[in-house]
Symmetry: C2
Subunit: 335 residues, 2 copies
């Protein structure tokens, strides 16, 4: 039979009130002696208070919800570890919810989480207009952090990556190596991140007096297959280098170009963006732009918990920088 606070009170010959006080460290008005007596009983009986009963009155569950498209995506896996590690350190649990990019699933999950009285919510949203939707279904005072989204003003907490800078740096690297004919495999251009990466590419060209050429652009969809598909095209038009808007497409292009007899990086240099290193594989072949997923998760979680504890009041927008990671897939163009 599970012990309750009343049992402990009876055994220690005090009231439940006192037991509660001792457990919660509100001992300023409890004598050293009774305190020790209670602690001894707790120790001996190995008593653990019922967290649900606690939650009912304290209104905190020490649990946060994490809603994201698919944990199998390496970005989100890494992100989730950043979040979980930080949360665990401060005694919080994380409930994981995969939405598979489906709006209904996302809304349903968030709504269910609300009923569960989680203390906070971290969301990588797939909704058209996440802020208004999410605010509609959550309680006024639940802290929320949106990842991979940028808000105006201080509407909501946001943590996101500087995609523009990523595209810019990748392209600049190729330019610095001496490339002038630089292809660009874009992401789906109805998605904000893809547009920004593309803008980074364009601006890097402009800033270095290289004219933008439409035929150098191949529109992809962030999939490996898009990279594969682009290969034949790029081989035929003869670029000396390619900036792929994500690593998956970069790897696809690399794979197919190699099969077509194109030497990487001698004939064509390739830069990716994301830095998704397959687990355990240390030697990185691909030159790419690092996106600090783990750090972003950690920051999102710390933002959330700070707000939870009232340490900060206003919402923040935090942007993460892109950095170049040198691999073996880029080199000077051949003369």
């Amino acid at each position: 039979m599970k012990l309750t606070i009343k049992d402990i009170a009876r055994i220690a010959n005090v009231s439940p009130t006192t037991v509660s006080r001792v457990m919660n460290g509100k001992t300023e008005y409890v004598t050293q002696e009774t305190q020790e007596r209670v602690l001894k009983v707790i120790e001996e009986t190995n008593y653990q208070p019922n967290q649900i009963a606690r939650s009912l009155v304290t209104r905190e569950t020490r649990t946060i919800g994490l809603v994201l498209p698919d944990i199998r995506n390496p970005f989100f896996t890494e992100l989730s570890r950043g979040i979980e590690d930080y949360a665990n350190q401060l005694g919080y649990f994380v409930i994981l919810c995969n939405t598979d990019h489906k709006s209904e699933k996302e809304i349903q999950y968030i709504s269910l989480l609300k009923d569960k009285y989680i203390d906070g919510l971290i969301v990588v949203s797939s909704l058209e207009n996440p802020i208004s939707h999410i605010k509609k279904i959550t309680t006024e005072n639940t802290p929320i952090v949106l990842i991979d989204h940028k808000a105006n003003d201080e509407e909501i907490n946001c943590v996101y990556f500087n995609n523009y800078q990523g595209g810019y740096l990748a392209t600049k690297h190729l330019i610095d190596l001496g490339h002038k004919n630089i292809g660009c495999i874009t992401g789906p251009l109805h998605v904000q991140s893809a547009v920004e990466r593309f803008n980074g590419y364009k601006d890097a060209l402009r800033d270095n007096n290289i004219s933008f050429k439409d035929e150098f652009i191949f529109q992809g969809n962030y999939r490996y297959e898009d990279g594969i598909e682009s290969a034949k095209y790029y081989k035929s038009i003869g670029v000396t280098s390619i900036f792929a808007s994500n690593d998956l497409m970069a790897l696809g292009a690399n794979q197919k170009l190699a099969e077509l007899g194109v030497k990487i990086p001698e004939d064509i240099s390739i830069v990716g963006l994301d830095n998704i290193t397959p687990i355990g594989i240390s030697d990185s072949f691909l030159t790419t732009i690092n996106q600090p997923f783990y750090e972003m998760g950690k920051t999102a979680c710390s933002l959330l918990l700070d707000q939870l504890k009232g340490l900060i009041q206003t919402n923040k927008n935090i942007q993460f920088d892109a950095t170049l990671v040198l691999g073996k897939s880029t080199a000077h163009p051949k003369k």
Copy 2:
């Protein structure tokens, strides 16, 4: 201000008891008319009952705990999706806990989860003797499923992969292709799964009258680097094929052998084991043995929830079969 069951009762002009009955479908003794009245009020006020208060009396949280070494490991990522999908379908939440293979972290997590009154627990344990440890810290009647572990009798629920069969099939495939000099990169031999895979290798040789040679064995640690390291050795002793006890080592060996000028599969065939396909990359190069992680997770979760609902009483041990996945890394040996 959040509505409570009393508010609804007042508005609908009934007692909280009746509201509760209607919400829980215990309507056999509620007239159609009052039922509709209550439902209408719930609908109009958008009332959502407080799940914590419910849990306090029903003793169920509709939440299960998932404890595993590291979600970044593709096995566990896939496993977690199998679990989460199934749990979500039945209205359960999943709390994710990474132990980083540390015993203290695992024990601490399980103990904390117990206090939280989760309904069930799924564990991929890193403990020496998981069953006795886990049973010590959990309540008598919490359903538990162990993954990647095999129990005697019906001590506890287990879901695991037939590692022996995996090693056997991989080796048999090479033998069927005509190979006789078959190297084997083992896993860490203090780990059960590694021993079983190795035994599968040995028995496949024996059953086909190929003598076991000690010099064909390279002991690894399931890491990419171990594969890299083994390459020089295998090139020097001249095997025609290699069975690597996991995909990571297979990929490492492949990488390094290719660098050393060895043609795969013409000069040396390689078989892995695990079938960890990098996300989004469809064309599989490596011939390997599939381990059905997603299915295993799903089954573990269904086992847990069935037990939770009292649908099954006895504990079960469920074994999953290995299957061969043909890639481009194996071929007949050269004459």
